[in-house]
């Protein structure tokens, strides 16, 4: 079994890392390279960069900061946002990203996931899925940075993504994102039945929330605000997880 991973998520807009609550009210946190280096030193296992402007404005992620991050970082990183075809992904991987995350474009054209898996291997393909609890569908899939509801049930879509060739799922609970109220562990439990790794996202507010998510089947936990604001440091969190019997890289 690989170690459970702790992953800071950096939302990037116009080449700057930003943070908002529930996808709104953005605030500048600095240059991607500076934050990346800080998290590398602190013992993050991996980083995820989501270009939150790219999908909405239908624009590819900038390659220059991806290239810079790749040169400075000694841990793997994923880049997502506006990846709509094999060429978009190729440019990001060429610039040094280890994996690409797809979201809206994959939901609009599921064959994209298969094409990426075919071209680069499924381990390069992270399927990001934003979901909200829903009476009819249990959890409903949202697109375009959480602004556009779909008719898809999240759990059905996750299995479809697995069949299409996704190598990993990055699952964000929009109900919990930015609230600090804890991960949606019921969602994690259901999603962890998938045969591919699951990154749980949305809702981390304190150390015990990460432990809960991992104990409910997540392979990795992702958070932004907690780490960016220094409320919980990665070494602190890992020490806590190790103390509670979770296999982590220290």
């Amino acid at each position: 079994m690989p170690a459970k991973r702790v992953i800071p998520c950096l939302d990037v807009k116009n080449g700057r890392v930003v943070k908002g609550v529930q996808f709104k009210d953005l605030r500048d946190l600095g240059h991607p390279v500076d934050l990346a280096k800080r998290y590398d030193l602190e013992g993050a296992d991996e980083l995820v960069f989501l270009d939150i402007s790219a999908s909405l404005e239908n624009r590819g992620t900038r390659e220059s900061w991806v290239r810079e991050v790749a040169r400075e970082l000694s841990i793997p990183f994923t880049v997502g946002g506006g990846v709509a075809c094999v060429d978009d992904a190729k440019r990001l991987l060429r610039a040094g990203a280890d994996k690409v995350a797809v979201n809206t474009a994959a939901a609009q054209r599921p064959a994209l996931v298969s094409e990426l898996a075919e071209a680069f291997g499924r381990q390069c393909v992270v399927a990001a899925v934003d979901v909200k609890r829903d009476e009819a569908l249990a959890w409903r899939v949202f697109l375009k940075g959480g602004t556009e509801p779909t008719d898809r049930s999240a759990l059905d879509w996750l299995w479809e993504l697995n069949d299409l060739g996704a190598g990993e799922i990055l699952l964000t609970s929009m109900d919990r994102d930015g609230t600090g109220a804890g991960f949606d562990v019921q969602l994690i439990e259901r999603a962890s039945e998938l045969p591919i790794p699951l990154i749980a996202s949305g809702g981390a507010g304190m150390d015990i929330h990460f432990l809960e998510a991992l104990e409910h089947g997540a392979d990795a936990v992702l958070a932004a605000t907690l780490f960016h604001e220094g409320i919980l440091s990665i070494p602190q969190l890992k020490a806590y997880l190790a103390h509670n019997g979770i296999l982590v890289r220290i």
Binding site: S74, I75, R94, D98, F120, Q123, I196
Partner: protein, 209 residues
């Protein structure tokens, strides 16, 4: 001079960044005539076995590599690069490997999540003059296939079953892990193996403390 074999299927930017941090000179070579005359060859790789093999054939490297190795050029394969050094892979039963490391690459599992994605501990299986006993160091892996360990496998890791994490046969070395992505432990491993392969490190500066 380290020659990075550039056939469009490797994460060269990260590798170059790591080599720069180690102060090792390197050049990208899309074709065999673009590489350095001497020094280690590095074969990176991400993706599908057969796609990579075809790309290496198209750019002329596939034909050249065995001869260069026979002449004594050191060669390091990373991730899919290691798998391509083996005799073949279950991922592409009709495509052959370079056959520089014995064995067939097999799919991981059953009973575990595939791809094996993340940090796993490695243990020494067979001592190598250049590589220290890792004693459970964490290395980063992203793969769905792996070589089964042989007696001569240098480091082993486990994902469901034991698999080969580091191989060495003479001047040919292979890493299933990504040393360029494995933090300080990975950089040390990269440095030790490339130094052993004859990569030149500039004289260290005098320490300032």
């Amino acid at each position: 001079m380290i020659t990075l074999i550039d056939y469009g299927a490797g994460n060269l930017a990260s590798l170059e960044g790591a080599l720069d941090r180690l102060g090792l000179e390197h050049v990208r070579a899309g074709r065999p005539d673009q590489g350095g005359e001497t020094g280690p060859l590095v074969l990176p790789g991400v993706g599908h076995f057969e796609t990579a093999q075809r790309a290496l054939r198209d750019c002329g490297w596939w034909r050249e590599i065995p001869g260069l190795v026979a002449e004594g050029r050191p060669l390091m394969g990373i991730c899919l690069g290691l798998q391509l050094l083996a005799e073949g892979s279950e991922e592409a039963p009709k495509a052959s490997g370079l056959g520089l490391i014995p064995g067939i690459v097999r799919r991981l599992g059953p009973g575990v999540k595939v791809p094996h994605m993340g940090w796993s501990q490695v243990q020494q299986n067979f001592p190598h003059p250049a590589l220290p006993d890792p004693k459970g160091s964490w290395l980063y892996f992203v793969h769905s296939y792996a070589l089964e360990p042989s007696r001569e496998t240098v480091y082993v890791a486990r994902h469901g079953r034991p698999f080969s994490a580091v191989e060495a046969r003479g001047a040919v070395m292979g890493f299933q892990a990504h040393p360029e992505k494995s933090g300080p432990a990975g950089l040390l491993l990269l440095q030790a193996s490339l130094a052993w392969m004859g990569a030149v490190t500039p004289a260290p500066e005098a320490p300032c403390n």
